[in-house]
Point group: C2
Chain length 629, copies 2
């Protein structure tokens, strides 16, 4: 790790071809907002027509929420050396409440910038940081509470709707828009998301828009119970393995498969430089756990951590553009003994670092005692809090115990302090929880933390499946999302076992997109069932390509189909690869419909008339064969 290869930048500047290619039969479209710079990217999937014996029916394109950023837009030339286009700079400048700084104001940021040994791996086009003018507060919450609808708010409103109004106005979508009424457990999801609704939700603290003023490359998104359920992914090198170029590629990979936000949990060398590369190339909000880097700075000795060092780290990262910080301020000294009888004690890294510090010094957690000062830093850059659950349960046995809930209550207390500073807050949650104890977590979070958005890791609903914890946790995630969690932190198959590789990351993200979408369906979020309906219609009509293209992972769907039926002709085959022509139920159902059609009637009429005629005949014969249904 110590030797930096000379060809680093050249190598890093290239993404693998499969990481950034456009999705099949899809194009990047933009929904235009109220000003020219407000263009909200979406993915539009074209569909093939349906060929029936009688006619050719058009199938309209389906618009999907798109997290992949400019990487899937063939009209954008990607240059990792320069970073992504700046979406937000003009909006930030127009507000007139910030100033560009000459350079980093943190000690650590300055020392890294000045170190010639880092030249080979430093991001080339460093932009000076920006900070709120003295006395100004630049958080989205602050604007919201003053009644200001920011471009970021309008952006996320358009993004959440995904052209639903257009679909509703277009008769081609009438049948595709059919959907079940949801059960939202008290969430109040409007029929259409307006910018004013976004403002009100942000003002109330029920939603956050993580958007550091030093991350203008960001395509804004919103996290809240009355919006689409989001997915966070984690990447990060460590002392053991991984490197910067891998991390950047993982970021792009994460966005490709549907990660809405990304946490850089690097704990190895060159954390600062890795983060710069990630931020400059990230269309999604980036979160960190600053205590990890602070600990690196004291060579892993938790007891040597100080508030001053931590404060410098916060400023260092805020000036790079980190959008949210996990802060373990709820791990209070008095709660630590509550974990002593647990099966798995304290499993949060941040939680155990702070617990160790507290015990070493016999003092209260300095993150708790300095919380207001942290708020002062956050509001100067608009960094959102992700209040960490350092005492989350690490196994089923420890779920919902007193240590966990004591910390959660403290997080509620801290939420109020943050809101006094107009700083945006979300609350981290567990972890490992059996299915029947999941809802209690949401209910308590909503009550204790005043409906601040909940952001949970899974939860895993059993401990017995290492190597499959993307699945154990997707089960918990779907449920907790349904109950009201706003963002789900993904888990990969390597959880508890090792560092995820690229395929593990993909498996983890897709599992969580499934969970989030299942939750959106169950909550009845307007329009989300269109994708299910369109894909199922394609499936039923043997439009294999459309089925693949509308799926969460078109590439793998096609690959699996190819394994059984590799020939291109089979992509239009009117029978299933599983059963063969005689046994395909969908083919038989089509035969049933054709049978009705041959009689010159609509299916429904034909069937009903057939029934009625036969029924009459039988009724006359005194048979009870056909009964009313």
């Amino acid at each position: 790790m110590s030797a930096i290869p000379e060809d680093f930048i050249r190598r890093t500047a290239r993404l693998s071809e499969d990481v950034a290619r456009p999705f099949p039969n899809s194009r990047k479209v933009f929904a235009q907002g109220s000003q020219p710079s407000l263009r909200v990217p979406m993915r539009e999937v074209a569909q093939h027509p349906t060929h029936t014996s009688a006619e050719i029916e058009e199938n309209p394109p389906i618009t999907l929420y798109d997290t992949s950023g400019p990487y899937t837009d063939p009209s954008v030339e990607i240059d990792l050396l320069r970073g992504l286009p700046e979406v937000r700079t003009a909006w930030i400048e127009e507000r007139g409440d910030t100033e560009p700084l000459d350079g980093p104001t943190s000690d650590y940021g300055r020392s890294r910038a000045a170190d010639p040994a880092l030249a080979a791996l430093r991001f080339e086009h460093l932009r000076g940081p920006r900070r709120a003018l003295s006395g100004r507060n630049v958080t989205q919450m602050h604007y919201a509470r003053r009644g200001i609808v920011t471009p970021e708010m309008e952006y996320v409103a358009i993004r959440e709707n995904c052209r639903l109004a257009e679909m509703r106005a277009d008769p081609r979508y009438a049948r595709l828009l059919r959907s079940h009424a949801g059960e939202a457990f008290g969430a109040r999801i409007p029929d259409e998301i307006t910018a004013e609704f976004v403002r009100a939700e942000v003002a109330a603290g029920r939603a956050i828009i993580p958007a550091n003023i030093n991350h203008p490359e960001l395509e804004p998104m919103i996290i809240g119970r009355n919006f689409r359920v989001k997915v966070n992914t984690n990447i990060g090198n460590s002392a053991v393995t991984s490197s910067i170029e891998e991390e950047v590629e993982k970021l792009v990979w994460s966005c490709r498969w549907g990660g809405d936000t990304l946490m850089d949990l690097s704990t190895g060398k060159n954390i600062h430089e890795t983060r710069e590369w990630i931020l400059r190339n990230s269309p999604v909000p980036i979160g960190t756990v600053p205590i990890y880097q602070a600990l690196e700075k004291v060579d892993g000795k938790a007891e040597e951590l100080t508030w001053e060092l931590f404060r410098d780290t916060l400023i260092e990262q805020a000036e790079q553009g980190v959008d949210y910080f996990t802060i373990h301020a709820g791990v209070r000294l008095a709660y630590v003994p509550l974990t002593a009888d647990r099966v798995t004690g304290i499993v949060s890294r941040g939680g155990s670092i702070m617990a160790k510090w507290c015990l070493a010094h016999h003092q209260e957690n300095f993150l708790y005692t300095h919380f207001a000062e942290i708020c002062e830093i956050m509001k100067a850059y608009d960094v959102s809090f992700s209040l960490g659950d350092g005492l989350r349960p690490g196994c089923i046995a420890d779920a919902n115990d007193r240590a966990q809930f004591a910390e959660l209550e403290t997080l509620g207390e801290l939420t109020k302090i943050a809101w006094d500073h107009d700083v945006q807050v979300m609350i981290e949650g567990p972890g490992h929880v059996p299915l029947h104890k999941v809802k209690e977590n949401v209910d308590k979070e909503l009550a204790d933390c005043l409906e601040a958005p909940f952001y949970t890791l899974g939860p895993l609903v059993t401990d017995v499946a290492p190597a499959y914890d993307h699945i154990t946790s997707a089960i918990g995630a779907a449920n907790i999302g349904w109950y009201g969690t706003a963002m789900l932190c993904y888990v990969t198959p390597k959880e508890h076992l090792g560092l995820p590789n690229r395929e593990d990351v993909r498996d983890g993200i897709i599992s969580y997109r499934i969970a989030a979408h299942a939750a959106d369906l169950a909550k009845g979020f307007p329009g989300v069932q269109v994708r299910d309906n369109a894909l199922s219609k394609a499936r039923f009509e043997f439009r294999w390509e459309d089925q693949f293209n509308l799926s969460l992972d078109p590439e793998r769907a096609r690959e699996y189909h190819d394994q059984t039926m590799p020939k291109e002709a089979h992509k239009v085959a009117h029978f299933c690869s599983m059963c063969g022509p005689n046994f395909c139920s969908m083919k038989i159902t089509q035969d049933v419909r054709d049978y009705a059609a041959r009689q010159g009637l609509s299916e429904q009429e034909a069937l009903e008339r057939g029934m009625q005629e036969k029924a009459l005949e039988f009724v006359e014969k005194g048979s009870a064969l056909y009964r009313e249904v």
Copy 2:
């Protein structure tokens, strides 16, 4: 497929080495019942001791429910040519209500037995079939209702308990037995399963023991809401691909990973012979959908199906030993039009076959009209009904619609008829259902079908993830299992796309073992949390080997760990592969405990005393730093 290779039997007689090897650090143990032949196999996983600075703590062995049969018992010599040892023959003979027949009584069975062209692929050691004496009823339900506790009932009682009483009496398990109280939604799970409880549940129809008298190789198991949630797997060749030897190996593979029952859904050639090989080598109940084979006999022309042909197929399969039949008797003619407006019509193969037949003949489903005659056959061999859900929803949009529920109501009506014949019944359920509509399925099934065990496919909670439908459906399966479904039919990653290979089957089964275990935990089934607790304790203590060995898939857990930390030494490393030594929260927590221990106190005492002393000090200083918790 037409050419039968001459070396077929020799090749079939060998299992791949990895299909049948014992699990690591595990041994097959037997819990002895009330008679010598009643020996219930279980898997016992030995654990390593915990080394602390002060002492060596023994970790007791963990007993696991074991579906793998003799294949993982090194003391049993497996010979696929001869089939498995007969567990039940003496029990069946002792009842004195059956007679051995000279040979098959079905026309088809006789013709296949007499066909010299099939010699190369016929199972060699064919045993003549057995049938109830005239006028006798040999179902487990019939015995149960007469107050008879059969060896099968005692067997499953012992099996369900998994040595819980022994653990409760052994102080080494005291901490491992800690568990959450469950939420069972009206299920009445006793603190210990007795043979009498099993009898009463079977008598009431709330549970079934699928156990054809012609399947004496079976290790009995029970399916019911007040027992452990079970997992069914599907295998089967088709006209497109796959072969007999692959199917037998898939059977063993399915048992290995935790399939409790297995359905042979073959639809290609040589279905009869494939089934014989499977049955003779299967320690788990085998189910089929007889209409599939019946359709093969009329070359795929549904309209040519007749009751007589179907009846012959039932007898053919019953005399081979099939333990449960899926019968789509609820697809009534009058319900077919209810599917015409669906997004995906009729997606059940059996359902669409019967719908096609009904419409072709304008007659009521012959399975419905001949239902009592089917019962007569079932009770002569003790074949259980799995009443098929031919109108199950094939997509989210069609979930819980009138077609589905009309059929379910009819299945309730048929359940009563079957019970009048003392024939065991379970009810099949969907399919594709959004999360918030899942519970309604269970509630309605319990009400309409009088608590007959529910057996569901998934359900998939979204349609948008082909290639990941083991996950979309495991989410639904965990929930529906928690709500009261007794058995979960697995789904593989290839669902909707292609035929599953061995790895797909493994992925599907493990996903469903996760769902079933999550449901058991949530319902509070006694003793099931021991495995979670033991594995989590091992994880926390860096006993990597024990963590692997206690997991649902020890081989993959180890493989994934090896990918990051391949060296053997790392298996005892006291830090995580993910984070490196300084960042491992578990290591830090151990440091916290050691810190307390160094003061010569128990952890709890040390921490509490530390708190109190500091608290006093601060209280004296007027600080509110330490608050009561």
